[in-house]
Symmetry: C2
Subunit: 217 residues, 2 copies
Amino acid sequence: MASEPPEHADPGGDSAARSRGPYAKGLARRQQILDRAIEVFARRGSAGTSLRSIAQEIGVSHAALTHYFSSREQLLVEVYREAERQADEVEPHSADASPVDIMTESARRNHAVPGLVQLYSTLVATALEPGHPDAAGFATTRFATVRADLAERVRRNQASGRMRSDVDPDAVASLVIAASDGLQTQWMLDESVPQSEALDLLARLLTPHRPESSGGA
Amino acid sequence: MASEPPEHADPGGDSAARSRGPYAKGLARRQQILDRAIEVFARRGSAGTSLRSIAQEIGVSHAALTHYFSSREQLLVEVYREAERQADEVEPHSADASPVDIMTESARRNHAVPGLVQLYSTLVATALEPGHPDAAGFATTRFATVRADLAERVRRNQASGRMRSDVDPDAVASLVIAASDGLQTQWMLDESVPQSEALDLLARLLTPHRPESSGGA
DNA sequence: GTCTATACGTCGATAGAC
DNA sequence: GTCTATCGACGTATAGAC
Protein backbone atom coordinates (compact mmCIF):
# COMPACT_ATOMS: atom_id res chain seq x y z
CA MET A 1 0.00 0.00 0.00
CA ALA A 2 2.84 2.37 0.66
CA SER A 3 5.73 0.11 -0.27
CA GLU A 4 5.37 -0.49 -3.98
CA PRO A 5 8.76 -0.50 -5.70
CA PRO A 6 9.11 1.63 -8.86
CA GLU A 7 6.26 2.61 -11.15
CA HIS A 8 6.34 1.18 -14.65
CA ALA A 9 3.39 -1.07 -13.82
CA ASP A 10 2.06 -2.65 -16.96
CA PRO A 11 -0.71 -5.04 -15.92
CA GLY A 12 -2.08 -7.28 -18.61
CA GLY A 13 0.79 -7.18 -21.05
CA ASP A 14 4.47 -7.64 -20.33
CA SER A 15 5.45 -7.81 -23.98
CA ALA A 16 8.43 -5.53 -24.27
CA ALA A 17 8.82 -4.54 -20.66
CA ARG A 18 10.51 -7.71 -19.54
CA SER A 19 14.12 -6.73 -19.22
CA ARG A 20 13.54 -3.27 -17.84
CA GLY A 21 10.23 -3.67 -15.99
CA PRO A 22 11.28 -5.99 -13.25
CA TYR A 23 8.22 -5.75 -11.01
CA ALA A 24 5.52 -5.32 -13.60
CA LYS A 25 4.91 -8.96 -14.24
CA GLY A 26 4.69 -9.85 -10.59
CA LEU A 27 2.30 -7.03 -9.87
CA ALA A 28 0.06 -8.06 -12.72
CA ARG A 29 0.12 -11.64 -11.52
CA ARG A 30 -0.71 -10.56 -8.03
CA GLN A 31 -3.66 -8.54 -9.27
CA GLN A 32 -4.81 -11.45 -11.38
CA ILE A 33 -4.71 -13.74 -8.36
CA LEU A 34 -6.67 -11.17 -6.37
CA ASP A 35 -9.37 -10.86 -9.04
CA ARG A 36 -9.80 -14.60 -9.39
CA ALA A 37 -9.78 -15.02 -5.61
CA ILE A 38 -12.59 -12.49 -5.28
CA GLU A 39 -14.78 -14.66 -7.48
CA VAL A 40 -13.92 -17.76 -5.49
CA PHE A 41 -14.70 -16.13 -2.15
CA ALA A 42 -17.84 -14.49 -3.53
CA ARG A 43 -19.08 -17.96 -4.43
CA ARG A 44 -17.92 -19.93 -1.42
CA GLY A 45 -17.30 -17.65 1.53
CA SER A 46 -14.10 -18.10 3.47
CA ALA A 47 -14.64 -21.48 5.09
CA GLY A 48 -13.53 -24.48 3.13
CA THR A 49 -11.29 -22.26 1.09
CA SER A 50 -7.85 -23.47 2.05
CA LEU A 51 -4.80 -22.01 0.39
CA ARG A 52 -4.45 -25.25 -1.53
CA SER A 53 -8.03 -25.37 -2.82
CA ILE A 54 -8.14 -21.73 -3.86
CA ALA A 55 -4.73 -22.09 -5.50
CA GLN A 56 -5.97 -25.07 -7.46
CA GLU A 57 -9.11 -23.23 -8.55
CA ILE A 58 -7.05 -20.27 -9.69
CA GLY A 59 -4.51 -22.46 -11.39
CA VAL A 60 -1.35 -21.82 -9.39
CA SER A 61 0.48 -23.68 -6.70
CA HIS A 62 -0.37 -22.99 -3.10
CA ALA A 63 3.19 -21.84 -2.54
CA ALA A 64 2.74 -19.19 -5.20
CA LEU A 65 -0.03 -17.68 -3.10
CA THR A 66 2.29 -17.36 -0.14
CA HIS A 67 4.83 -15.71 -2.38
CA TYR A 68 2.45 -12.80 -3.06
CA PHE A 69 0.60 -12.83 0.25
CA SER A 70 2.55 -13.44 3.38
CA SER A 71 -0.23 -15.36 5.09
CA ARG A 72 -3.69 -16.70 4.51
CA GLU A 73 -5.07 -13.98 6.77
CA GLN A 74 -3.45 -11.27 4.69
CA LEU A 75 -4.88 -12.79 1.52
CA LEU A 76 -8.36 -12.72 3.03
CA VAL A 77 -7.95 -9.11 4.09
CA GLU A 78 -6.70 -7.98 0.71
CA VAL A 79 -9.39 -9.88 -1.15
CA TYR A 80 -12.10 -8.11 0.82
CA ARG A 81 -10.41 -4.73 0.52
CA GLU A 82 -10.10 -5.10 -3.24
CA ALA A 83 -13.67 -6.32 -3.64
CA GLU A 84 -14.94 -3.32 -1.70
CA ARG A 85 -12.75 -0.96 -3.70
CA GLN A 86 -14.03 -2.34 -6.99
CA ALA A 87 -17.63 -2.08 -5.82
CA ASP A 88 -17.13 1.56 -4.84
CA GLU A 89 -15.52 2.20 -8.18
CA VAL A 90 -18.43 0.76 -10.12
CA GLU A 91 -21.11 2.52 -8.10
CA PRO A 92 -19.83 5.31 -5.86
CA HIS A 93 -21.96 6.81 -3.09
CA SER A 94 -23.45 10.20 -3.71
CA ALA A 95 -22.09 13.00 -1.56
CA ASP A 96 -25.35 14.00 0.08
CA ALA A 97 -26.76 10.54 0.80
CA SER A 98 -27.91 10.05 4.37
CA PRO A 99 -26.04 7.64 6.65
CA VAL A 100 -28.83 5.10 6.58
CA ASP A 101 -29.08 5.40 2.80
CA ILE A 102 -25.43 4.46 2.53
CA MET A 103 -25.84 1.36 4.64
CA THR A 104 -29.10 0.38 2.96
CA GLU A 105 -27.39 0.54 -0.39
CA SER A 106 -24.44 -1.46 0.89
CA ALA A 107 -26.84 -4.10 2.17
CA ARG A 108 -28.50 -4.27 -1.24
CA ARG A 109 -25.14 -4.69 -2.94
CA ASN A 110 -24.16 -7.41 -0.51
CA HIS A 111 -27.20 -9.53 -1.24
CA ALA A 112 -25.66 -10.24 -4.62
CA VAL A 113 -22.43 -11.63 -3.19
CA PRO A 114 -23.19 -13.52 0.04
CA GLY A 115 -19.72 -15.03 0.11
CA LEU A 116 -18.19 -11.61 0.65
CA VAL A 117 -20.53 -10.98 3.57
CA GLN A 118 -19.38 -14.26 5.07
CA LEU A 119 -15.79 -13.23 4.47
CA TYR A 120 -16.38 -9.89 6.17
CA SER A 121 -17.99 -11.56 9.15
CA THR A 122 -15.10 -14.00 9.44
CA LEU A 123 -12.55 -11.19 9.27
CA VAL A 124 -14.27 -9.21 12.01
CA ALA A 125 -14.56 -12.28 14.24
CA THR A 126 -10.89 -13.07 13.67
CA ALA A 127 -9.97 -9.49 14.48
CA LEU A 128 -11.50 -9.89 17.95
CA GLU A 129 -9.24 -12.80 18.80
CA PRO A 130 -5.78 -12.10 20.19
CA GLY A 131 -2.83 -12.66 17.91
CA HIS A 132 -4.31 -11.65 14.56
CA PRO A 133 -2.82 -8.24 13.78
CA ASP A 134 -3.71 -8.25 10.07
CA ALA A 135 -7.40 -8.84 10.65
CA ALA A 136 -7.41 -6.48 13.63
CA GLY A 137 -5.79 -3.74 11.59
CA PHE A 138 -8.25 -4.19 8.78
CA ALA A 139 -11.33 -4.18 10.98
CA THR A 140 -10.21 -1.31 13.18
CA THR A 141 -9.27 0.85 10.22
CA ARG A 142 -12.42 0.06 8.29
CA PHE A 143 -14.71 0.83 11.22
CA ALA A 144 -12.87 4.07 11.91
CA THR A 145 -13.05 5.15 8.28
CA VAL A 146 -16.74 4.37 7.87
CA ARG A 147 -17.56 5.98 11.22
CA ALA A 148 -15.81 9.19 10.20
CA ASP A 149 -17.58 9.25 6.84
CA LEU A 150 -21.00 8.61 8.35
CA ALA A 151 -20.51 11.14 11.16
CA GLU A 152 -19.70 13.75 8.54
CA ARG A 153 -22.85 12.86 6.63
CA VAL A 154 -24.84 13.18 9.85
CA ARG A 155 -23.51 16.70 10.33
CA ARG A 156 -24.38 17.64 6.77
CA ASN A 157 -27.86 16.19 7.14
CA GLN A 158 -28.36 18.02 10.40
CA ALA A 159 -27.20 21.29 8.85
CA SER A 160 -29.72 20.93 6.05
CA GLY A 161 -32.49 20.07 8.49
CA ARG A 162 -33.01 16.55 7.24
CA MET A 163 -31.92 14.98 10.50
CA ARG A 164 -32.66 15.66 14.15
CA SER A 165 -30.13 18.08 15.53
CA ASP A 166 -30.32 16.76 19.10
CA VAL A 167 -28.32 13.61 18.42
CA ASP A 168 -24.57 13.11 18.64
CA PRO A 169 -23.11 12.50 15.15
CA ASP A 170 -20.52 10.01 16.39
CA ALA A 171 -23.08 8.01 18.32
CA VAL A 172 -25.37 7.94 15.29
CA ALA A 173 -22.51 6.81 13.06
CA SER A 174 -21.61 3.91 15.36
CA LEU A 175 -25.27 3.01 15.76
CA VAL A 176 -25.98 2.96 12.04
CA ILE A 177 -22.96 0.77 11.30
CA ALA A 178 -23.91 -1.62 14.09
CA ALA A 179 -27.51 -1.81 12.91
CA SER A 180 -26.47 -2.39 9.33
CA ASP A 181 -23.92 -5.12 10.11
CA GLY A 182 -26.10 -6.82 12.69
CA LEU A 183 -29.23 -6.83 10.55
CA GLN A 184 -27.27 -8.19 7.62
CA THR A 185 -26.12 -11.08 9.81
CA GLN A 186 -29.60 -11.85 11.10
CA TRP A 187 -31.03 -11.68 7.59
CA MET A 188 -28.48 -14.12 6.23
CA LEU A 189 -29.47 -16.65 8.88
CA ASP A 190 -33.19 -16.06 8.44
CA GLU A 191 -34.49 -14.13 5.48
CA SER A 192 -37.74 -13.42 7.28
CA VAL A 193 -36.14 -10.83 9.55
CA PRO A 194 -37.31 -7.35 8.60
CA GLN A 195 -33.93 -6.03 7.56
CA SER A 196 -35.01 -3.14 5.37
CA GLU A 197 -37.96 -2.34 7.61
CA ALA A 198 -35.64 -2.03 10.60
CA LEU A 199 -33.23 0.20 8.66
CA ASP A 200 -36.14 2.34 7.45
CA LEU A 201 -37.36 2.53 11.02
CA LEU A 202 -33.98 3.79 12.17
CA ALA A 203 -34.00 6.39 9.40
CA ARG A 204 -37.45 7.52 10.45
CA LEU A 205 -36.45 7.79 14.10
CA LEU A 206 -33.57 10.04 13.10
CA THR A 207 -35.83 12.36 11.10
CA PRO A 208 -36.99 15.61 12.70
CA HIS A 209 -40.35 15.11 14.46
CA ARG A 210 -43.28 15.12 12.16
CA PRO A 211 -46.46 14.87 14.22
CA GLU A 212 -48.28 13.03 11.42
CA SER A 213 -46.20 9.88 11.74
CA SER A 214 -46.86 7.27 9.09
CA GLY A 215 -47.55 4.31 11.39
CA GLY A 216 -45.30 1.32 11.85
CA ALA A 217 -47.23 -1.96 12.25
CA MET B 1 -31.17 -30.01 26.30
CA ALA B 2 -34.02 -32.39 25.63
CA SER B 3 -32.21 -35.68 25.21
CA GLU B 4 -30.75 -36.50 28.59
CA PRO B 5 -30.98 -40.25 29.39
CA PRO B 6 -32.26 -41.21 32.87
CA GLU B 7 -31.85 -39.17 36.02
CA HIS B 8 -29.62 -40.57 38.72
CA ALA B 9 -27.11 -37.80 38.10
CA ASP B 10 -24.53 -37.70 40.85
CA PRO B 11 -22.04 -35.00 39.93
CA GLY B 12 -18.90 -34.80 41.99
CA GLY B 13 -18.95 -38.24 43.58
CA ASP B 14 -19.22 -41.62 41.92
CA SER B 15 -18.46 -43.63 45.04
CA ALA B 16 -21.06 -46.42 45.13
CA ALA B 17 -22.95 -45.76 41.90
CA ARG B 18 -20.49 -47.49 39.63
CA SER B 19 -22.12 -50.75 38.74
CA ARG B 20 -25.73 -49.62 38.57
CA GLY B 21 -25.49 -45.97 37.53
CA PRO B 22 -24.54 -46.33 33.89
CA TYR B 23 -24.91 -42.76 32.62
CA ALA B 24 -24.39 -40.81 35.82
CA LYS B 25 -20.63 -40.77 35.80
CA GLY B 26 -20.41 -39.82 32.18
CA LEU B 27 -22.87 -36.98 32.60
CA ALA B 28 -21.01 -35.61 35.56
CA ARG B 29 -17.76 -35.79 33.66
CA ARG B 30 -19.33 -34.04 30.69
CA GLN B 31 -20.61 -31.25 32.90
CA GLN B 32 -17.23 -30.96 34.57
CA ILE B 33 -15.56 -30.62 31.17
CA LEU B 34 -18.10 -27.97 30.18
CA ASP B 35 -17.51 -25.92 33.32
CA ARG B 36 -13.75 -26.01 32.96
CA ALA B 37 -14.02 -25.24 29.26
CA ILE B 38 -16.08 -22.13 30.00
CA GLU B 39 -13.24 -20.76 32.09
CA VAL B 40 -10.72 -21.52 29.36
CA PHE B 41 -12.76 -19.83 26.64
CA ALA B 42 -13.61 -16.88 28.88
CA ARG B 43 -9.89 -16.31 29.28
CA ARG B 44 -8.67 -17.00 25.78
CA GLY B 45 -11.53 -16.70 23.31
CA SER B 46 -11.95 -19.42 20.73
CA ALA B 47 -8.87 -18.96 18.56
CA GLY B 48 -5.77 -20.78 19.64
CA THR B 49 -7.92 -23.14 21.64
CA SER B 50 -7.51 -26.41 19.83
CA LEU B 51 -9.09 -29.54 21.16
CA ARG B 52 -5.65 -30.67 22.26
CA SER B 53 -4.76 -27.51 24.15
CA ILE B 54 -8.09 -27.21 25.92
CA ALA B 55 -7.96 -30.93 26.77
CA GLN B 56 -4.52 -30.49 28.25
CA GLU B 57 -5.62 -27.50 30.30
CA ILE B 58 -8.61 -29.42 31.61
CA GLY B 59 -6.58 -32.53 32.27
CA VAL B 60 -8.03 -35.05 29.83
CA SER B 61 -7.00 -36.38 26.46
CA HIS B 62 -8.21 -34.66 23.35
CA ALA B 63 -10.00 -37.84 22.34
CA ALA B 64 -12.03 -37.70 25.53
CA LEU B 65 -13.41 -34.36 24.38
CA THR B 66 -14.59 -35.85 21.13
CA HIS B 67 -16.18 -38.65 23.08
CA TYR B 68 -18.48 -36.24 24.90
CA PHE B 69 -18.83 -33.71 22.10
CA SER B 70 -19.11 -35.00 18.60
CA SER B 71 -17.09 -32.16 17.12
CA ARG B 72 -15.13 -29.10 18.07
CA GLU B 73 -17.96 -26.96 16.74
CA GLN B 74 -20.48 -28.66 18.98
CA LEU B 75 -18.22 -28.14 21.97
CA LEU B 76 -18.00 -24.43 21.19
CA VAL B 77 -21.76 -24.17 20.84
CA GLU B 78 -22.45 -25.98 24.08
CA VAL B 79 -19.84 -23.99 25.97
CA TYR B 80 -21.48 -20.73 24.95
CA ARG B 81 -24.97 -22.04 25.63
CA GLU B 82 -23.99 -23.21 29.09
CA ALA B 83 -22.18 -19.97 29.89
CA GLU B 84 -25.22 -17.95 28.90
CA ARG B 85 -27.50 -20.23 30.90
CA GLN B 86 -25.36 -19.87 34.00
CA ALA B 87 -25.26 -16.08 33.60
CA ASP B 88 -29.04 -15.91 33.32
CA GLU B 89 -29.33 -18.12 36.37
CA VAL B 90 -27.11 -15.87 38.46
CA GLU B 91 -28.75 -12.65 37.36
CA PRO B 92 -32.08 -13.05 35.57
CA HIS B 93 -33.65 -10.20 33.62
CA SER B 94 -36.60 -8.46 35.20
CA ALA B 95 -39.92 -8.97 33.44
CA ASP B 96 -40.64 -5.33 32.70
CA ALA B 97 -37.21 -4.23 31.57
CA SER B 98 -37.18 -2.43 28.23
CA PRO B 99 -35.54 -4.04 25.20
CA VAL B 100 -32.62 -1.67 25.23
CA ASP B 101 -32.19 -2.18 28.97
CA ILE B 102 -31.81 -5.90 28.36
CA MET B 103 -29.12 -5.43 25.77
CA THR B 104 -27.34 -2.75 27.78
CA GLU B 105 -27.17 -5.09 30.72
CA SER B 106 -25.92 -7.92 28.53
CA ALA B 107 -23.22 -5.65 27.19
CA ARG B 108 -22.18 -4.78 30.75
CA ARG B 109 -21.98 -8.46 31.68
CA ASN B 110 -19.95 -9.23 28.59
CA HIS B 111 -17.28 -6.68 29.39
CA ALA B 112 -16.24 -8.97 32.23
CA VAL B 113 -15.66 -11.98 29.98
CA PRO B 114 -14.28 -10.79 26.63
CA GLY B 115 -13.40 -14.34 25.62
CA LEU B 116 -17.06 -15.28 25.51
CA VAL B 117 -17.82 -12.31 23.27
CA GLN B 118 -15.08 -13.51 20.93
CA LEU B 119 -16.56 -17.00 21.08
CA TYR B 120 -20.01 -15.65 20.24
CA SER B 121 -18.67 -13.66 17.32
CA THR B 122 -16.81 -16.71 16.01
CA LEU B 123 -19.92 -18.87 16.29
CA VAL B 124 -22.06 -16.39 14.38
CA ALA B 125 -19.43 -16.01 11.65
CA THR B 126 -19.16 -19.79 11.39
CA ALA B 127 -22.92 -20.08 11.17
CA LEU B 128 -22.94 -17.91 8.05
CA GLU B 129 -20.61 -20.28 6.20
CA PRO B 130 -22.10 -23.26 4.37
CA GLY B 131 -21.63 -26.67 5.91
CA HIS B 132 -21.77 -25.81 9.60
CA PRO B 133 -25.17 -27.00 10.79
CA ASP B 134 -24.34 -26.94 14.51
CA ALA B 135 -23.30 -23.29 14.51
CA ALA B 136 -26.11 -22.36 12.14
CA GLY B 137 -28.67 -24.03 14.36
CA PHE B 138 -27.32 -22.31 17.42
CA ALA B 139 -27.24 -18.84 15.87
CA THR B 140 -30.61 -19.11 14.16
CA THR B 141 -32.32 -20.39 17.29
CA ARG B 142 -30.69 -17.84 19.52
CA PHE B 143 -31.60 -14.90 17.31
CA ALA B 144 -35.17 -16.14 16.97
CA THR B 145 -35.52 -16.61 20.72
CA VAL B 146 -34.10 -13.22 21.63
CA ARG B 147 -36.13 -11.51 18.90
CA ALA B 148 -39.34 -13.03 20.24
CA ASP B 149 -38.50 -12.02 23.80
CA LEU B 150 -37.62 -8.47 22.83
CA ALA B 151 -40.65 -8.04 20.58
CA GLU B 152 -42.85 -9.07 23.48
CA ARG B 153 -41.13 -6.53 25.71
CA VAL B 154 -41.69 -3.88 23.06
CA ARG B 155 -45.40 -4.63 23.08
CA ARG B 156 -45.56 -4.41 26.86
CA ASN B 157 -43.64 -1.14 26.84
CA GLN B 158 -45.92 0.26 24.16
CA ALA B 159 -49.00 -0.80 26.12
CA SER B 160 -47.74 1.00 29.20
CA GLY B 161 -46.93 4.11 27.21
CA ARG B 162 -43.19 3.92 27.74
CA MET B 163 -42.42 3.37 24.09
CA ARG B 164 -43.63 4.92 20.86
CA SER B 165 -46.64 3.06 19.57
CA ASP B 166 -45.99 3.84 15.91
CA VAL B 167 -43.11 1.37 15.53
CA ASP B 168 -43.27 -2.28 14.55
CA PRO B 169 -42.27 -4.50 17.49
CA ASP B 170 -40.50 -7.07 15.32
CA ALA B 171 -38.49 -4.41 13.50
CA VAL B 172 -37.52 -2.83 16.82
CA ALA B 173 -36.46 -6.22 18.21
CA SER B 174 -34.20 -6.95 15.24
CA LEU B 175 -32.83 -3.45 15.31
CA VAL B 176 -31.99 -3.54 19.01
CA ILE B 177 -30.22 -6.89 18.72
CA ALA B 178 -28.25 -5.69 15.71
CA ALA B 179 -27.28 -2.47 17.46
CA SER B 180 -26.22 -4.30 20.60
CA ASP B 181 -24.14 -6.93 18.82
CA GLY B 182 -22.59 -4.50 16.37
CA LEU B 183 -21.70 -1.91 19.00
CA GLN B 184 -20.15 -4.57 21.16
CA THR B 185 -17.94 -5.59 18.25
CA GLN B 186 -16.87 -2.04 17.47
CA TRP B 187 -16.16 -1.36 21.13
CA MET B 188 -13.96 -4.43 21.46
CA LEU B 189 -11.84 -3.22 18.57
CA ASP B 190 -11.73 0.37 19.78
CA GLU B 191 -12.85 1.25 23.28
CA SER B 192 -13.33 4.87 22.29
CA VAL B 193 -16.51 4.11 20.36
CA PRO B 194 -19.54 5.47 22.21
CA GLN B 195 -21.17 2.13 22.88
CA SER B 196 -23.40 3.07 25.78
CA GLU B 197 -24.11 6.51 24.33
CA ALA B 198 -25.32 4.92 21.12
CA LEU B 199 -27.53 2.46 23.00
CA ASP B 200 -28.91 5.26 25.13
CA LEU B 201 -29.54 7.24 21.97
CA LEU B 202 -31.53 4.35 20.51
CA ALA B 203 -33.55 4.08 23.72
CA ARG B 204 -34.27 7.80 23.58
CA LEU B 205 -35.37 7.64 19.94
CA LEU B 206 -37.83 4.91 20.87
CA THR B 207 -39.34 6.95 23.67
CA PRO B 208 -42.61 8.82 23.02
CA HIS B 209 -41.88 12.37 21.83
CA ARG B 210 -40.93 14.72 24.58
CA PRO B 211 -40.46 18.22 23.14
CA GLU B 212 -37.93 19.14 25.81
CA SER B 213 -35.27 16.73 24.57
CA SER B 214 -32.12 16.56 26.62
CA GLY B 215 -29.60 17.30 23.87
CA GLY B 216 -27.19 14.80 22.39
CA ALA B 217 -23.72 16.21 21.79
C1' DG C 1 12.08 -11.99 -8.96
C1' DT C 2 9.06 -15.72 -9.83
C1' DC C 3 7.74 -20.06 -8.76
C1' DT C 4 7.99 -25.29 -7.63
C1' DA C 5 8.97 -29.03 -4.65
C1' DT C 6 9.22 -30.68 -0.39
C1' DA C 7 9.00 -31.00 4.39
C1' DC C 8 7.54 -29.72 9.30
C1' DG C 9 4.39 -29.37 13.02
C1' DT C 10 -0.44 -29.18 14.26
C1' DC C 11 -5.06 -29.68 13.45
C1' DG C 12 -9.95 -32.33 13.82
C1' DA C 13 -11.44 -36.74 13.38
C1' DT C 14 -11.49 -41.80 13.71
C1' DA C 15 -10.31 -46.83 14.81
C1' DG C 16 -9.24 -50.14 17.80
C1' DA C 17 -6.94 -51.63 22.23
C1' DC C 18 -7.82 -51.97 27.19
C1' DG D 1 -15.92 -45.42 28.72
C1' DT D 2 -11.47 -43.84 27.97
C1' DC D 3 -7.00 -44.05 26.04
C1' DT D 4 -3.12 -44.52 22.30
C1' DA D 5 -2.24 -44.52 17.54
C1' DT D 6 -2.93 -42.87 13.29
C1' DC D 7 -5.09 -40.51 9.28
C1' DG D 8 -5.43 -36.85 5.72
C1' DA D 9 -5.43 -31.92 5.42
C1' DC D 10 -4.07 -27.67 6.98
C1' DG D 11 -0.82 -23.17 7.27
C1' DT D 12 3.76 -22.22 7.06
C1' DA D 13 8.87 -22.38 6.09
C1' DT D 14 12.77 -23.29 3.24
C1' DA D 15 15.87 -24.72 -0.78
C1' DG D 16 16.73 -24.14 -5.11
C1' DA D 17 15.28 -24.18 -10.31
C1' DC D 18 14.31 -20.85 -13.83
